[in-house]
């Protein structure tokens, strides 16, 4: 009798797991990578292409080694775009067709009107399992002006996510400025290590 109950409870236990797996199969979200994997993918590695690198790619004729993915709207794309760039407007990234286009082995460089949008597209692409995704730092308009038209080395490392102002000059609020004498002398903590044995 007890043995029968045991058998039944085993069946019940496995049934719960199998049903839950089945349920997840049908309701699963479209991600390939977990959120922590995405976090390490987009922050752990260097995934930015600067104007300097872009210039190098053009001057060395390596455009074919990369897939430029232009995520601006079709109208913006038609006005101006990088040669051979693939136009996939941001709202179409999740579509099956775009996914198959993006599943190439080549490194992909996302070109957008703003850097933030390119990073957002990168977040989505990495999440749905597209690897080797890079972001063009600085956005397309600046890239067109400073790289494609005429290369200006002063803008070689331009980024929208760099500070435009010397913030502490305007708002003297937080952190220690370098003038702060106290912060220059660090606390010194001594750690003693005893080593043993010779040779």
């Amino acid at each position: 009798m007890i043995v029968k109950q045991l058998n039944n409870s085993v069946l019940l236990y496995f049934a719960v797991i199998i049903l839950a797996l089945g349920f997840q199969w049908f309701t699963a979200k479209n991600y390939k990578l977990s959120k922590n994997q995405v976090l390490t993918e987009i922050t752990g590695k260097e995934t930015k292409i600067t104007f300097f690198e872009l210039k190098h790619i053009f001057s060395e004729g390596r455009e074919r080694d990369y897939l430029f993915v232009d995520i601006r709207s079709i109208e913006e794309y038609e006005i101006n775009h990088i040669n051979n760039a693939l136009n996939i407007p941001l709202e179409n990234i999740m579509q099956k067709r775009s996914r198959s286009l993006l599943s190439l082995e080549k490194p992909k460089i996302i070109v957008a009107s703003t850097e933030a949008e390119a990073h957002f597209a990168q977040f989505l692409m990495v999440g749905i399992g597209i690897d080797n995704v890079f972001v063009l730092q600085g956005g397309f308009n600046k890239a067109f002006e400073y790289v494609i038209k005429e290369f200006k080395p002063a803008y070689g490392f331009y980024s929208e996510d760099k500070a435009k102002y010397d913030f502490p000059r305007f708002m003297n609020v937080a952190g220690e400025s370098t003038k702060d004498a106290e912060s220059i002398v660090p606390d010194i903590e001594t750690l003693e290590i005893t080593i043993e044995g010779g040779c």
Partner: protein, 405 residues
């Protein structure tokens, strides 16, 4: 969802109450499995009764399948589950002592309590022995301390040490358990000299065994596609939120909240520590983007009443943080429009265009000039938010008597 207590779903003070209930359940199962009998327990060493091995393997397999599948389904966060660290010497010596005690006394610590509860005198004697051991260990602890903490390996996993993947380890362990069930039964029958007629009357376990095998094989081939939590949002939903642009907070609103010390609004600086040590907005807290999913911030992000506004120098890093936080299912997260650059453009560079006659613009322009005055007059707080950097000096000491050669 689970574990409930570290996630704050159950009050930590109820911890011991649940431990008590689980303890009762554990004792009951041990008793029902026949573990209150020293004869049965010692049987595993003489080959006439392997029930101990089978019960523990069953418990292990149940917990194993439960944990791996619950983790896969996003029902449990294994990052929050406490894992016993390994101290090699204490594990080896403790194991040997326990083995001797087991074969001599016929109980292990847990089963001795169970047997004592149902009134077995040998178990009561055994418990007295346990307490003598505890007393001696406590008394001579100083002498043992080096061995006790010796060879610390941290929280290691057997599959990492073996160099195989977790999935394959699960598979091998389950197959090993199934093999052990069959094999021990054969030994038992040999030792006890069971009739062949009796064998046919036994309950058939083929179906559960097959199901277990099926599940662990399935686990081998499950795709990596998984959710870390049920709250997780789909990419389409995040995309729709992104395109609606409702996640932007204007610098004017942020400045208003800073000036009025609003308590429903927190600015989150996601830049690296160096930039933050140079400048960060007043009232902002610092969470580097890399640490956004760290355990200590979970409580903060789960507070749905609070508006959490990410900002970086521009928008790029803040949008990344927003996308990740949205995916994790955190509500009420926003991005400061334009980031710090946008904020300073508005308040300090006279770029604001005033349309004469537009009432809203006039209000805004007045607010901006007042806010600028307010920000410029701000004094540095007495105590810097970040502590001064600590430089570590490492001094190598060579003991005189240990010098080699």
């Amino acid at each position: 969802m689970a574990p409930f207590i570290p996630q704050g779903l159950i009050n930590p003070e109820l911890n011991l109450f649940f431990a008590l209930i689980i303890g009762f359940g554990f004792g009951y199962v041990l008793e029902q499995a026949g573990f209150s009998s020293a004869k049965k327990l010692a049987g595993v060493f003489y080959g006439y009764d392997f029930v101990v091995l089978r019960v523990f393997f069953t418990a292990g397999i149940t917990a194993l399948t439960g944990l791996i599948f619950f983790e896969y389904l996003g029902w449990i966060d294994m990052g929050l589950v406490y894992i016993n660290p390994t101290y090699l010497w204490s594990a080896i010596i403790g194991g040997v002592i326990m083995g001797f005690g087991f074969i001599m006394g016929g109980f292990c610590p847990g089963t001795s309590i169970v047997a004592a509860v149902i009134g077995k005198i040998d178990a009561i004697v055994f418990i007295v022995g346990i307490f003598i051991g505890i007393f001696l260990f406590g008394h001579f602890y100083n002498a043992f301390e080096n061995i006790y903490y010796g060879e610390y390996l941290g929280q290691i996993f057997i599959y990492d040490s073996l160099g195989i993947s977790k999935k394959w380890f699960v598979f091998f362990l389950a197959v090993m358990a199934l093999g052990a069930f069959v094999f021990t039964k054969i030994i038992e029958d040999k030792v006890n000299k069971v009739d062949i007629n009796q064998l046919n009357k036994r309950v058939n376990y083929t179906l559960p065994a097959f199901l277990l095998f099926f599940l662990v094989s399935l686990y081998l081939f499950l795709p990596e596609e998984r959710r870390s939590s049920i709250r997780e949002k789909a990419p389409e939903e995040i995309m729709a939120n992104y395109q609606s642009e409702k996640f932007y907070i204007s610098p004017v609103e942020a400045a208003y909240k800073i000036i009025n010390n609003a308590n429903d609004f927190v600015l989150v600086d996601v830049r690296d520590s160096l930039s933050v040590s140079l400048f960060t907005l007043p009232t902002a807290i610092h969470i580097p983007l890399e640490n956004i999913f760290n355990r200590q911030y979970r409580q903060f992000f789960r507070d749905d009443e609070l508006k959490k506004v990410f900002y970086s120098n521009g928008e790029a890093k803040a949008v990344k943080a927003w996308a990740l936080a949205s995916r994790a299912g955190y509500d009420n997260v926003f991005v400061l429009k334009g980031g710090l650059n946008g904020f300073f453009d508005l308040f300090f560079s006279d770029k604001f265009e005033l349309n004469e006659g537009n009432l809203m613009d006039e209000f805004n322009s007045r607010f901006i000039s007042n806010a600028r005055q307010y920000f410029m007059k701000m004094k540095k707080p007495e105590q810097p938010k970040q502590s001064t950097p600590v430089r570590k000096m490492i001094e190598i000491v060579v003991p005189d008597d240990r010098v080699g050669c």
